[in-house]
Symmetry: C2
Amino acid sequence: MKTTAVIMAGGRGERFWPKSRNSRPKQFLSLTSDGETMIQKTVKRLLPIVDMEDIYIVTNAAYKQLVLDQIKGLPEENILAEPCARNTAPCIAFASAVISRKYDDAVMLVLPSDHLIGYENIYISTLKKAIKVAEKDKNLVTIGITPTYAETGYGYINFGEECGDAFKVERFVEKPDKKTAKGYLASGKYLWNSGMFVWKISSVMENIRNFMPDIYEGAVKIGESFGTPDFEDTLVREFTAFRSESIDFGIMEKAESIYTIPGSFGWDDVGSWLAIERINETDDAKNYIDGDVIAVDSERTTICGGKRLVAAIGVEDIVIVDTDDVVLVCSKNHTQDVKKVITQLREAGRDNLT
Amino acid sequence: MKTTAVIMAGGRGERFWPKSRNSRPKQFLSLTSDGETMIQKTVKRLLPIVDMEDIYIVTNAAYKQLVLDQIKGLPEENILAEPCARNTAPCIAFASAVISRKYDDAVMLVLPSDHLIGYENIYISTLKKAIKVAEKDKNLVTIGITPTYAETGYGYINFGEECGDAFKVERFVEKPDKKTAKGYLASGKYLWNSGMFVWKISSVMENIRNFMPDIYEGAVKIGESFGTPDFEDTLVREFTAFRSESIDFGIMEKAESIYTIPGSFGWDDVGSWLAIERINETDDAKNYIDGDVIAVDSERTTICGGKRLVAAIGVEDIVIVDTDDVVLVCSKNHTQDVKKVITQLREAGRDNLT
């Protein structure tokens, strides 16, 4: 059976503001020294098991040109441009409906566009196992990440008995507090929920029909119009009418036959500025420094320079990001609060800075 | 007897880098919300006791135009342009020699150009007392500042018996360590050395001749050429030949008849970025914020914005200064280390940033 991939690239990457902007969010930026953008890496690492013509990128209409510019060789019709953001369930329903016009059935990998993978061979090997499990029956497979510490910022997957290469999923749980997270790790029965899914199009469509019949109906209409002159109108009409829903809540927490495969391939969701020092090399004082920077007596500091000189003196545990129109100076304890600044800017009508 | 003033404005203000630059040092900047520059304030507060035509500003030749632009009404010939920096002794000898061509004798106030005075009436009253003391005999008067805490960054004046409005100076001492500074305060016999002096031209010239005959000789030649076509050549030849010497070491630590008058007029030498929160109003979280700034959960932080947005999140006790070509992020404990960055820039041949 054919393997296709759906890469979800509609996010705004707000936690990487001010480098990530509405006009060019995180997935279209390079956050590593090799200069490749996150989405370029995501596509490249898939090519051993998915043909370029079977890779679909779902993104906001505003980013279609960015995708075309960055992913050379991707057929333009494989860019599925959402007219608005409606979370992952409508996104996946849209892609499934379109791809099912091309193939009677196929395996579909659903993948975020802005995560990093350290060990690509292990990643591919894990996906191959997931594909095998997904090809059987109506199985829905989620890739779990074996936790390395008690993270409170991720959802967890509670798994049960082993079935071949996979484990049966008992339940999905929301972001826990620290104590609960520690309990999860100690139990040896919980994985991080990475947001990567593997299933057949027929399996996911059946579940969408069962649990979200409204979204199913709209998606089918969009799929039927794909390639016809009515497509744009249908897409805008049906997609904007969708409610916002995550695939986790919409299907995964309700469906039967959910399996997880534990992955240990150096996954990093690059979820905040703190990730920069994890995914790049740091100096002896544990600073990550990029650009025109003079650092004196500074430790554990991340500095992403822009066009001007950044001078850091005697600072510790902070993040400094310089861009043409904004400079961010943020304590490492507060990287999640970047969103508060974005909110203030929007309230002040200064969307050009967000 | 006429009262004249010599304002020393040749400093580079390096401790206020990157706002203070070689091309426009601290004395030509406004560091307060009223928009007046330091040197403008210095001149303005003197006008109740010194006529504008009797105010002389000694500065580097490169800053002559800045002085002309900022001090309206100052006769151009009252700007004494040093061809190079030689510390305060040659500066004062130069000014004394020039002014002594205009007046047979006169009282001379010698004042830094980059300090702030909170209580100008008390300041004027103190200077008036100093003038009276200086008019008598060959007295040399230094204005001492009554210490408010055990500062280790200033020199101190050890004073003895009271003579009218002044106290006899026993000795000048260099910057002490913390313990010594505390001892000075406890003794009640030490004042901060503010670098403000009052004397007759005849008194200071006689002391220069006695203790620095080489500088005296050169200064007299410069004075004699003042107003003639030879002036520029003489100035460059004689001034560049001077050794670097402070007036404190060159005269004050050696001469007889040294007096001090304690001043309590809200003096601030504005000696580092730490001064900004002292001399300006701060918010409830003790932040000083100027310019286009969004601060979230930040405390005791000084932010001087430039043309771009500065976003500060969760930071404490730091100084952020944004300029067109440099952004500084400096721990409050390290404001003196700004000079280290300047040194690195000079070594790298990047003088345009200093």
